[in-house]
């Protein structure tokens, strides 16, 4: 028998190359994907890692990414649904980081700010979620959400889990206050997202509709220490901002195009307030709680409503 070592060593280049090519079919290479039972799916792992970090690129790309798959480019069903389903907290963190980058870029240029609340300008990263997911990303008030009526009132607004008002009060950890207008009474639907309370009132005489069918008023209440927490609000170019006072507390009236914001809670955790904007927004802080009121009533009536919260 020929000694293989010597036989191989005697091969000319092209024969040696041929032997090496053939050898390749016998080499034990790791195989990615599902070919090995129980193996980790490499492509899926990569996707998960990518989804957990923002792409390089412009700030707006990062913000669109942060807004979810599909995002502002397509308004695709997958994007809308994932927003409806509520984004995991990690997405909020990334959104926060992206917004902080913007903040760094415009620091000093925007002199607005409540204690613990800073406002920055920018384009909304995503269309308002629509139940069907097929709506274009215009911001017009004529948008319809056909399946919204199937869910609890405001169920498409990503406010959190639908709970009873009593449950919301219990879980909030602070006194949840309501407008004292007897025509409003208790909310028609209550939502809880962590310790964030979202309250919805249906349209009624004196409470016109908003961009979300059937919804006349949305009030969100968050606990926060103004010394440790701050808010970022990102506003589009078609959004106007008015500085106001609500019962002596500083606040802003924000009207026009949709916008979004997030906050960082006292534990340093970024929370993406990704619930959809349904109308003009009154945002103010009082004590250690921040309030957000959305309505179509106009600024003066919104402030009166806000000042009636007890």
């Amino acid at each position: 028998m020929t000694e293989p070592r010597q036989a191989l060593g005697a091969l000319p280049d092209d024969e040696l190359a041929k032997a090496l090519r053939e050898l390749a079919t016998s080499v034990a290479f790791p195989s990615p994907g599902a070919t090995t039972p129980g193996a980790v799916d490499l492509a899926a792992s990569v996707r998960r890692r990518i989804e957990q970090r923002p792409p390089r690129g412009s700030i707006w790309q990062r913000l669109r990414w942060a807004a979810g798959p599909g995002g502002a480019q397509t308004g695709a069903a997958i994007g809308a649904q994932s927003r409806l389903g509520g984004r995991p907290i990690r997405r909020g963190v990334v959104l926060a980081l992206a917004a902080l980058l913007i903040l760094a870029a415009v620091a000093g240029a925007v002199g607005l700010g409540l204690p613990g609340l800073r406002i920055i300008f920018g384009q909304p990263p995503s269309p308002q979620p629509t139940a069907g997911g097929s709506q274009p990303s215009q911001t017009g008030a004529s948008r319809v959400t056909p399946s919204a009526t199937l869910a609890p009132l405001g169920g498409s607004l990503a406010l959190g889990d639908a709970v009873s008002f009593a449950e919301a009060q219990r879980q909030a950890g602070f006194d949840v206050v309501l407008p004292t207008d007897p025509d409003l009474g208790q909310p028609d639907a209550s939502y809880l997202n962590g310790q964030r309370v979202g309250l919805i009132w249906a349209t009624r005489p004196g409470l016109p509709g908003t961009q979300s069918p059937g919804v006349g008023l949305v009030i969100s209440e968050f606990r926060g220490n103004v010394d440790e927490r701050y808010f970022e609000k990102i506003l589009g170019p078609d959004t106007t901002l008015t500085r106001v006072t609500v019962g002596g507390s500083p606040g802003y009236w924000i009207s026009g195009a949709p916008h979004f914001f997030f906050y960082i809670d006292p534990n340093g955790q970024a929370v993406n307030d990704d619930h959809a904007t349904v109308g003009d927004v009154l945002l103010w802080t009082k004590g250690d709680v921040t309030y957000r009121l959305e309505t179509s009533l106009g600024m003066a009536a919104a402030i009166r409503l806000a000042e009636s919260l007890r």
Binding site: S26, F29, S45, V46, P55
Partner: protein
């Protein structure tokens, strides 16, 4: 997909460009498709560059980094060698920290007979222990020799692709390969056991 008026880029299906464009706009699913397309060659590359490293880990990291760098990728360039360059770098980084070296190995369930044809007279030379002998000689080579042999003969990369994947000048591929084959012969000629490392 319509191809009229589109210049076909060598070494890359047209769909790659479309997937890359979509991935650039943040469409993660498009990128996942690219990953599935190239994960096999990527893992093989990482394994050749760093046989004792965690090839899947290197490849995963490389794909994540490639995604982050996608905006810098020239869309009319072939994706595969660009990706393999990143994979190679990741695998090389892991190689430095690797201690014990076992090298490339033969498959345990060795498929002795290719199912498509009887072994040719030429390939008969690789029967039995010849495979183990040849692979042992490859394992005894320096890293850069193993890389160029692996790129050209195990991965079947073109000279251009091999140059980009390994980060070496295109013009040196031939001569490097020739020298590597020479040293492979020296290994085979060396007395049994101890590899003739330089």
């Amino acid at each position: 997909m319509g191809v009229s008026g589109t210049v076909k880029v060598e070494g890359r299906p047209l769909e790659d460009a479309a997937l890359i464009e979509r991935a650039r706009t943040g469409e993660v699913m498009a990128y996942e498709e690219l990953v599935r397309r190239y994960q096999d060659v990527a893992v093989r590359t990482a394994h050749i560059v760093s046989p004792d490293g965690d090839a899947e880990d290197a490849v995963q990291e490389a794909f994540v980094k490639a995604y982050a760098a996608l905006s810098r990728f020239r869309i009319d360039a072939p994706f595969r060698p660009w990706l393999l360059r990143i994979v190679t770098n990741e695998a090389r980084n892991r190689r430095r920290s690797a201690g014990r070296r076992a090298g490339l190995a033969l498959r345990i369930a060795e498929d002795r007979r290719p199912d498509d044809a009887a072994p040719s007279p030429e390939s008969a030379v690789l029967a039995g222990e010849a495979r183990a002998t040849l692979l042992a000689a490859v394992n005894a080579l320096r890293d850069d020799d193993r890389e160029i042999i692996g790129a050209r003969y195990f991965l079947e990369l073109s000279e251009t692709e091999a140059a980009e994947a390994l980060g070496i000048p295109r013009g040196t591929v031939k001569s490097r390969l020739s020298r590597a084959l020479g040293r492979l012969r020296e290994q085979l000629a060396a007395s049994d056991g101890g590899p003739a490392r330089d």
